[in-house]
């Protein structure tokens, strides 16, 4: 999977849930969205990206991916 595209998509998801004033809840919603709508290979790729430094990921996207 094109990791740059996945990073952009993860950041877009996080940008929506960032409106939640509860940071933990926001991160969980990001994670939940990824679980429910991303195919396993996409989740695996974004997790690998995070493990390798997560270049380009927003802070909330990172926190969401950490919960996967």
């Amino acid at each position: 999977m094109n990791i740059e595209r996945l990073v952009a998509m993860a950041n877009d998801i996080a940008a929506f849930f960032a409106a939640d004033p509860n940071p933990d809840a926001a991160a969980e919603q990001v994670a939940n969205h990824l679980r429910r709508f991303w195919a396993p290979r996409m989740r695996d790729a974004i997790k690998r990206c995070l493990q390798q430094g997560g270049a380009g990921l927003s802070p909330l996207a990172r926190r969401g991916i950490e919960r996967l």
Binding site: N2, M9, D12, F16
Partner: protein, 943 residues
Amino acid sequence: MYSIDHKDLGTPAAISNEPVTLDIDGSPVTVPAGTSIMRAAALAGTRIPKLCATDTLKAFGSCRLCLVEIEGRRGFPASCTTEVAPGMKVRTQSSRLLQLRRGVVELYVSDHPLDCATCPADGHCELQDAAAELGVEGSRYASGGATQRGALQDASNPYFAFNPDLCIVCSRCVRACDEVQGTLALTIEGRGFESRVSASQHESFVESECVSCGACVEACPTAALTEKSPLGLGAPTQAVTTTCGYCGVGCSLKAEVKDTKVVRMVPNRAGTANKGHACVKGRFAFGYATHPDRIRRPMIRQRITDPWREVSWEEAIGHAAAEFRRIQGKYGPDSVGGITSSRCTNEETFLVQKLVRAALGTNNVDTCARVCHSATGYGLKHTLGESAGTQAFTSVMQADVIVVIGANPTDGHPVFASQLKRRLRQGAKLIVIDPRAIDLVRSPHIEAVAHLQLRPGTNVAVINAFAHVVVTEGLASNAYAEARCEVDSYRQWKAFVADARYSPEATEEISGVPAALLRAAARIYAAGPNSAIYYGLGVTEHSQGTTMVMGIANLAMATGNLGREGVGVSPLRGQNNVQGSCDMGSFPHEFSGYRHVSDGATRGLFEAAWNVKLASEPGLRIPNMFEAALDGSFRGLYIQGEDFVQSDPNTNHVVAALSAMECVVVQDLFLVETARYAHIFLPGASFLEKDGTFTNAERRISRVRKVMEPLAGLADWEVTMQLAQALGYPMHYSHPSEIMDEIARLTPTFRGVTYDKLERLGSIQWPCNDAAPDGTPTMHVGSFVRGKGKFYLTEYVATSERSTSRFPLLLTTGRVLFQYNVGTQTRRTANLAWQAEDRLEIHPDDAEDRGIADGDWVGVSSRTGDTVLRAIVSRRMTPGVVYTTFHFPESGVNLVTTENSDWATNCPEYKVTAVNVVRVGQPEAWQARIRAERSAQRSPALR
């Protein structure tokens, strides 16, 4: 001319529950109060002669042929304009009435040719009928149409002709244009014998404002307005009720057939979605079904550069199955997938997703709704609890305020637009939120009270500003929202939108919408009392498409505008079965009825029914499939009725992905653009060639009925069954009704749906189950489907696609009335007379800056690609924004659009692409290349 099986009752039905009993010709008749004597008599089986009356139009009372006698009343009232009254005694036949009627008919005949034997009306002429019934064989006043004889005929419209010789100036055509279609393109000019029907201002029909809906032709009592198609085909002998295969309005049509040929389409008066109306596409543009370009034999080839080779169904399907199994063996079970089509029936989409999940063993299934209304499904499901619009179309007739956001109903959903315009002319207020000045903003007797001409990509800022006004000015319906919604989410949302950053004054800089105008519009919406929102792809096809859908739902909940007629949130669906394809479990994360694949109980239900273990993880969406193809992990795809290469954004990216696959199977009517990258082609069947159901934008399930045999021998559901069989997963259905029975068993919202019930009721709006055995016209009555409605915080996040010095304009795309989506069907009809190419609309200021004149070729470039189009200089556009359509493959419009997509659903951001536009001398090399390639790729039968 009406449908061959229609019995005209003369005047429209009255809307009253109060019965009135009167006496007609000595027999008691009971009808609703407000019914005309003419209609009451017709309902009782007594036909009163008439010419200017018909039951789709308000009584006019001009022909004076329908005179009757009423005991106790002087004179001879017209039965069409006289309402029934309790105890009234009516005589419809007497010697005096006969004398009067004969006199009237003689006057009409005095200015009408008497060559009935050779008239194109072919026996379907109400004047001829009246003359015969009354024994009139000539006229004492003149002979044979002296004043109209020799008037120029107008055959400019490809579908119908106007012959003034045969016109009796009854005004039915003019009234049909006014009352049924709502375009007001026709008028009667002149006086007395000089009276003539005129389109616009002395223009030909094709050049006038006429939208060619055909309502005038249907209403014409003589052969003055005559369809061209029946000429030469002979009179139809049978009428088959079916459902239109074009837009999401889902008009009920009667296909009038002679032998196996469709002679004409006539809108069904009993059709609940369309109430006897149709548009130019539904009524006239069905010729594609028998176009010579149709592929009638399966074809295969080893490589996409090879020529096609015609083969048997058995060989093609066997080859496809073997290839999918080979790929899965080599790359794993999730290396293949399938695409269901919003143009196919519910039963067919259900079967394709079943094949993918059960036979291929993967959840890699998606549908073309991905690129249009996927954001609707997500947004409405999360806020209200169901992935569908909340209203029936008729609800609009109860609306006091109508907000149209990012939709152009007069082009995209014309039959609903006619109803909408009728309500607006009755006085409902209209608010339009759209970068373009769509026709609704200002048209005859309609003017929007507010047109919020926002910058593309700023929808969420605008809807939040609406909400800000509602909340901060105390216009919210707190009691409703707190009773029906999650209170915490409501209060949190109120605080969120009340923030100063969402005041209209603050958002004006973002959206370009003047604060005062937005405040006025928000106040009008909140005041209602019945405020309804209708929206289209201008809402969903954005990087914040889902956020905007949620914002709309939030606003409707906060103002109490859900759960009754006249209000609601109504997505106007693009294709005929977008709603249905979504309902049927076409998305990779959910089964039919929008239940997630990770839900063990639901999955267990399907596993038991299908006798197979099913995957519990979501599969790939269409754009994800492309990415996976490019990384080598996705190698095979079964595509039923979708043309990615033309419809999906960033064409070069799509082509690269398809080219990387080892087995692409395309099932379609024609060699569409995507077929250029296919290895196997399976001929599809048009909606005329199969049985099934479509579900329209108001959740209405309607029957599609076969009127001719599939040209290639198999309906699409039969092809899918054969493919499943070849994959080792036999399916056993002898008729689509059995597939619907399975859908009903497995899908709670369809539990009560059967073909028998559809036959009985005509159509059914889901949910249809024990709680609502006849269906559900209005959703969320009393409570929301999810229990308590939930408000979501809809922060505005600017799209990354912004105008720059290199790409200073914003491109937005859409469609026009005469063409449909990628044009596969309408490009193969006479609709080309109105639009034969995609054009770029540009504001005069932007055009002048670039030296562009109307009709010039202009180069359009973005960060993803370039193309060339002809320009239309138009004040419909706002400066800085350009617009085009994507109906013609040689336009290559999606070469320019980008990979940006909605955060929740990956619905592409078609509505915002930063572009540069320059005047150029000639069409792009791309267009020359595509023409050459298409020619080289023709099927053996077409070479």
